[in-house]
């Protein structure tokens, strides 16, 4: 285990600022997920922690030791790549054994460690094969094996599940979570998949434009998004965002009014955020059903409320509705998110 401290960590490519004075502290044995869209700086941050990208400014510490200029092979980190990055000329056994061989461990130690890792990942029967004889899921298990065999204090994972199909991704996600629990190491995991982030993370750092937009637990990020970007990035279907103004202690957009428990100042231009599932049956909001998308376990409804406000609702499958129906539902004011329109931050 190790604590990772990024102090004003910066990476620039000429005039382009990829990571902008990032402040982040990752605790011993914590599972930190860096979440964000392409180009947000999450992989660059991971690469700087790994030592694969030179740090333009700032400091990086593992526990109390500064590793800003330490080359990657001396940082004692393991990394799993989206592309697996297995050595094609080596067998699975040789791939997993490679980091140990480089450390000069004895053949018997290596054999024992490789056997244990293979058993843990259920790939013992694949040890004699080469990477091109494996499926995607098997290759990613081998890549995990190569990482865990060293027993490093820090695991870095760069979108390790992105190339797998949905079913495999689900089972591998479980495997990674189990590994984290067993190894008790510090994990830094990069993804653009919110479901992966929510299910795996102890804390999530949502990034955009080289900056952390919000750093919090998955629940905190979902329940109290710091700004419109974070609110919109998490949740499926995405949060409903409606522009309007505060009038008479309520959110107002034309004829659409929602009373607020703690309204901002009168006349302020705001953006209302409503999670699709934060509605209840039989309330005072009425809307016309435009589209019904049954998913089996639940139903998604696209509705048009007063004032031309379009909303997507995630409702229990028992709610029966057809396009054209009038629907009444309730919205708990405590579940609403209000953002300032100009600064896009939470009010």
């Amino acid at each position: 285990m190790a604590r990772i401290t990024c102090a004003a960590l910066t990476k620039s490519y000429g005039a382009v600022l990829a990571v902008d004075a990032l402040e982040l502290s990752i605790g011993h044995g914590e599972f930190m997920v860096l979440l964000g869209p392409s180009g947000c700086g999450k992989t660059t941050t991971l690469n700087m922690i790994a030592g694969l990208e030179e740090i333009s400014a700032g400091r990086l510490l593992f526990d109390e030791t500064e590793v800003t200029w330490t080359p990657p092979h001396k940082r004692e980190v393991a990394m799993v790549f989206q592309s697996y990055a297995l050595y094609p000329n080596k067998t699975v056994r040789e791939n997993i054994a490679f980091p140990l061989r480089l450390r000069g461990q004895s053949a018997s130690e290596i054999e024992r460690a490789v056997g244990a890792a293979a058993e843990q990942l259920e790939i013992t029967h694949l040890l004699g094969r080469r990477p091109n004889e494996l499926s995607g899921g098997q290759r990613q298990r081998v890549a995990l094996g190569r990482a865990i065999v060293r027993k490093p204090s820090v695991f870095l994972m760069d979108e390790p599940l992105s190339n797998l199909d949905a079913t495999l991704r689900l089972s591998m996600r479980g495997l990674i979570k189990r590994l984290h629990q067993e190894l008790k190491a510090t994990f830094v995991y990069v993804t653009h998949d919110q479901a992966e982030a929510m299910t795996l993370a102890d804390r999530i750092a949502v990034m955009k434009g080289g900056l952390i937009q919000q750093l919090d637990t998955p629940e905190g990020i979902y329940e109290r998004p710091a700004n419109i970007f974070v609110a919109g990035f998490l949740g499926s279907p995405p949060i409903n965002l409606v522009e309007g103004v505060i009038a008479g202690g309520a959110f107002t957009r034309g004829d659409f009014r929602l009373a607020l428990t703690n309204p901002p100042q009168e006349g302020r231009a705001v953006v209302l955020g409503l999670r699709p599932e934060d509605v209840s049956a039989g309330g005072d909001v009425t809307a016309r059903v435009e589209l019904v998308s049954p998913l089996g376990s639940e139903t998604h409804l696209d509705v048009l409320a007063e004032g031309g406000v379009a909303l997507t609702l995630r409702v229990p499958k028992e709610w029966r509705a057809a396009p054209g129906d009038r629907l009444s539902f309730g919205i708990d004011p405590a579940r609403l998110h209000i953002f300032d329109k100009a600064s896009e931050t939470r009010l």
């Binding site: 790549f81 592309s83 697996y84 297995l86 094609p88 080469r130 990477p131 004889e133 995607g136 870095l156």
Partner: protein, 305 residues
């Protein structure tokens, strides 16, 4: 639906015809070289020529290997008679030593070329350092200058180094010619190796030397073999620099000695051709040995494709 028969037959005939023409074009001179080396001078110069030897003889080859034991003087040279192939050029005894010189130079050039090119190409292709592009362009720029323009400057450099008439002179010169090109070949190849493999190697504990040794070299076997072959063949065949930088048999190479046979009082084509056959044996052997390494797809399965 199956394709109609006529176009398929026409296509097959055309393919066979052009393939045969191509083989004839490429292999014809070599075949004639081998065939004529087994014929007497009289047979070679006959019109029309014998494409295949009527009375195959290895007399020309025997002459090459026994030349060192025979003293060729003005008198005994005239005892021989060119038309019956008993004629022996005056420098015949130099052929085998020259071959040894060529081989030594070729092997040194191939080995040193690989050592220099691999490390330089790795640095340029993989390590992100200031001046990386400028280095690459400088290396490539050296190949823009035609070799012939370098003859005099190189001669002066080699003479001032006191290396004239030494194998070292040719090794250094041939490295100057071949290294930039092999760097270029290897850079392209190294850049084609997935970057994540380099990253994985670095994380697994490799410094640059180990990453090169454990990852880049095993995956670049085809390019390494191509570079090795190129460097060896270039030095094996090179003529102009060898002619200028070596002036006696201690350092002269095969092309110089063989060309000397033609400039003799009389030319023995059969002997020259036999020497030619001997001269092509090492490169052919090299091609046969290494061709199985020149395969693609070595990185299959490395990363998600």
């Amino acid at each position: 639906m199956k394709k109609p028969l006529a176009p398929r037959v026409t296509r097959a005939i055309l393919l066979t015809l052009f393939s045969a023409l191509f083989v004839l074009y490429v292999a014809g001179p070599v075949a004639w070289l081998v065939s004529s080396s087994l014929q007497s001078e009289a047979e070679i110069t006959r019109v029309p020529p014998n494409w295949l030897p009527q009375n195959p003889s290895i007399a020309n080859f025997e002459a090459i290997f026994s030349a060192a034991d025979r003293v060729v003087t003005y008198e005994n040279r005239r005892q021989g008679e060119a038309l019956t192939s008993s004629f022996l050029p005056s420098g015949a005894a130099n052929l085998l030593p020259a071959m040894r010189n060529s081989l030594v130079i070729g092997l040194w050039v191939a080995a040193l070329n690989l050592l220099l090119s691999v490390t330089a190409a790795y640095a340029i292709a993989v390590i992100d350092f200031r001046g990386r592009r400028a280095t690459l362009y400088t290396v490539l720029a050296t190949r823009v200058v035609p070799d012939i323009a370098l003859v005099v400057p190189l001669f002066l450099v080699i003479r001032n180094l006191g290396l004239i008439n030494s194998l070292g002179a040719l090794v250094v010169t041939y490295l100057a010619i071949t290294v930039p090109f092999t760097i270029f070949i290897l850079i392209s190849y190294f850049e084609g190796i997935p970057r994540d493999l380099y990253r994985a190697a670095r994380i697994d504990g490799c410094g640059h030397g180990r990453a090169l040794w454990h990852v880049y070299l095993p995956l670049s076997l085809p390019a390494l073999v191509a570079s090795l072959t190129f460097a060896f063949l270039t030095s094996w065949n090179e003529f102009v620099f060898a002619l200028v930088l070596t002036q006696n048999v201690a350092a002269q190479t095969l092309p110089i000695i063989i060309s000397g046979f033609i400039m003799d009082f009389t030319t023995s084509f059969s002997f020259v051709n036999a020497a030619g056959v001997i001269a092509i044996i090492p490169p052919v052997l090299m091609a046969v040995v290494f061709q199985r390494y020149i395969v693609s797809g070595l990185t299959a399965g490395a990363v998600k494709g």
